[in-house]
Amino acid sequence: MTERVDLQEFIGGFVVEAAELVTAANAALLEIEAGHAEGTSRPKAVRDVFRALHTIKGLAGMVGVEAIVDIAHGLETLIRTADRAGGQLSRAAVEVALQGVRAIGERVRAVSEQRTPAAAPPRLLEAIASTDATGDAPAVAPQVSAELDARLSPSERAQLANAVAAGAPAWMLSFAPSESNAARGVTIGSVRSRLATLGEIVKVAPRTVTGPSGAQLGIAFDILVVSSAPRETLADAIAASLESVAPVLAPPPPVAQAPLPAGPGAEPSTRELAERDDATADVVPIGRAVIRVELSRLDELQEQLSLLTVSRFRLEREIAAMADAGHDVRRLRQVADLQGRQLRDLRRAILRARMVRVAEVLEPLSLLVRSLARSSERAVRLELDARDTELDKAVADRLLPAMVHLVRNAVDHAIEPAAERRARGKPEAGTIRVACTEIAGNQLELVVSDDGRGIDRAAIARRSERTIDHDADLLDVLCGPGFSTRDVATRTSGRGLGMDIVRRIAVSDLGGELRLATTPGAGTSFTMRIPLTISIVEVFAFACGRQAFVVPVSAIEEIFEIADAGITPPSAPGGRSQVSLLERRGRAIPMFSLGRELAIDDGAAARKAMVIRRGGEAVAFSVDRMLGRQEVVVRAIDDPLVQAPGIAGATDLGDGRPTLVLDLGELGLAARERQLP
């Protein structure tokens, strides 16, 4: 039993980590491809791909997903060859590697959905095995001295050569950690991050420092950096004198005071290299501490917070009651006010913990554009500018499908074929730009724009038989269900444009806005404004007095037919809140008519009872009938005009109208209070 649970947790961890590694491998492969376009090689990216695949293979082996092990192993072999050859990966190899990584991704998803992943396709494995790893990649000439050259792996050598070819000199720095340095906050970690801002770090190698007598004095680091920063700045970055910063290109540097662990002339295998780098990583603290938390745990935290908010509400009432009884409650009230502020801060902190970086959320769009461009035979470039924006994880998960639709439409409908673009005097490659900015009111603005042909209003007006005066009208037509500008279904977007889905996500699901601006011949932009956070709650929907309401499932203990329960009718008729007593499993539960409590009807049509329990005592409310159970986005009602007891917010059940979310706990307290003399 416990073993099973442990395995489940382990698989959850595997899925999260493998999915991240798949993303990392994809990003690195795309970077290598970008290098091809510029005629440079990207040895660091090749090494990143190698490491990601190596780790995926290990993880998959531990959870016994052989299909992933097979694919990752094939790719690892392919990439290792490239790494040994100086980090040059051919176009064909990038292509097959992207296919392989996608196959891995599909299998990770299968594991996460508790399906059995398909075996590795033999054709893919063959393709990987028969691909020439280095082939047509640009050649890199070695440019460093023989002595230093011997200390570098082929990929580091290529990385160095590349960086130097880009116009910056290379330096060998010698950093010796000391107590006085540490006291000033200068450690190898801080040095690393300082240097990373000044240039590119090629290699960090620890060595033992020995005194004249041969005794060990401590540890020092040799850091090979390519940077155009002045020598003084580099010396400053490692808190050392100028002598500790030596130029690496001719003449040969007199820096190697002790042989490196690998020894001169040794050609370390990539595996050793990966392990050695990992060992260095153990010594070097990483700047930002990050842990992974399952979303459900954060939800749990939020649920606890809402319970705390309810108990605080009760505290307020008790204080008010004491004050009414003539007690001095000033100090008590001070504490309660302080607690209120702390609760608000806590809520804010929990919301922050749920935020993810938009840049990461939208990362899959790069791959999407690449594959769409290929299948539609158009040259398309994606510019992603998410800056440092962040978004609630729950919003991010809902947002992505809308962004996929918009980007897909842009490739498929907006960007013209290369010949047409040339004829119009546009660059052959189309550009799709996705930009995000945080705007006032805790909202995020996302703009998806293209430099394509724009939307032909007249054609759309003809097709839809409507007059279209503004872009707003145009958007309305485009968002009609199933509307399409094409008669032929295309492979990428199918028949419908899917704009109805985009609008539903932006407006109904996320409570945002969608706008459109288009200029014929110049391009189209869609602007989406969505809240940074939303709260998603599972609710029961029910009818009461000709109106629909919802209430969180978590607030309801039980729902049953009133006819099935023993009821003692109210003994004292008249008054707004009549109470009857329900007999339920030997307990007597007070039942109020929700219709009467809300003053919307007389409660005569009530057939169902909902039992709630907040703070100990159970209370039941009678309602007309249940309408269903679903997940909804709850939006706060913050205007004072519509703030009323028991009204917690509003949601859209899909009919485009607001439906009120009730807090029956609050109504229950109010009703019970009225019953007491």
Partner: protein
Amino acid sequence: MTATLHVTFRVGNATYAVAASDVLHLESYDTATHVPGAPSYVAGLVQVRGRLVPVIDLRIRFGLPPADASAPGPPASQAAIDRRVVVLQLGTRVAGLVVDSAREVLKIEDTAFERPPEIVVHQTAGFVKAVATVAKRMYLLVDLPRILGEELDHG
């Protein structure tokens, strides 16, 4: 002389005006979600372009009989078609006014506004802060903060 753009609308037998700079948009009006416990002049909540907007029924706010109570039949349904929500932004608040009809956008000279006659102030419960006569028609400039119940912010 400066003139300001105003959105004009009808409620009952009078024509009212609000500065166009306070108006976000005009929407057709069907029905609002009733909010139990809200003031009686609050018709409820509507969703406008994805935004939750509380709406005030100006007939009730001005003490006129509700539109629905007028005699049923074709004229009444025409009245229902004409009804609009004037969506306003006042500082950070967004709210709507349900009016009988709203069509015209009009430039009114700033100097055209005068203090309303005492009888108007009395009849409109202080919701009218000025009166302008343009081309022999009278426009009543409404006091938006008062209509939206700014005092609710502190109560």
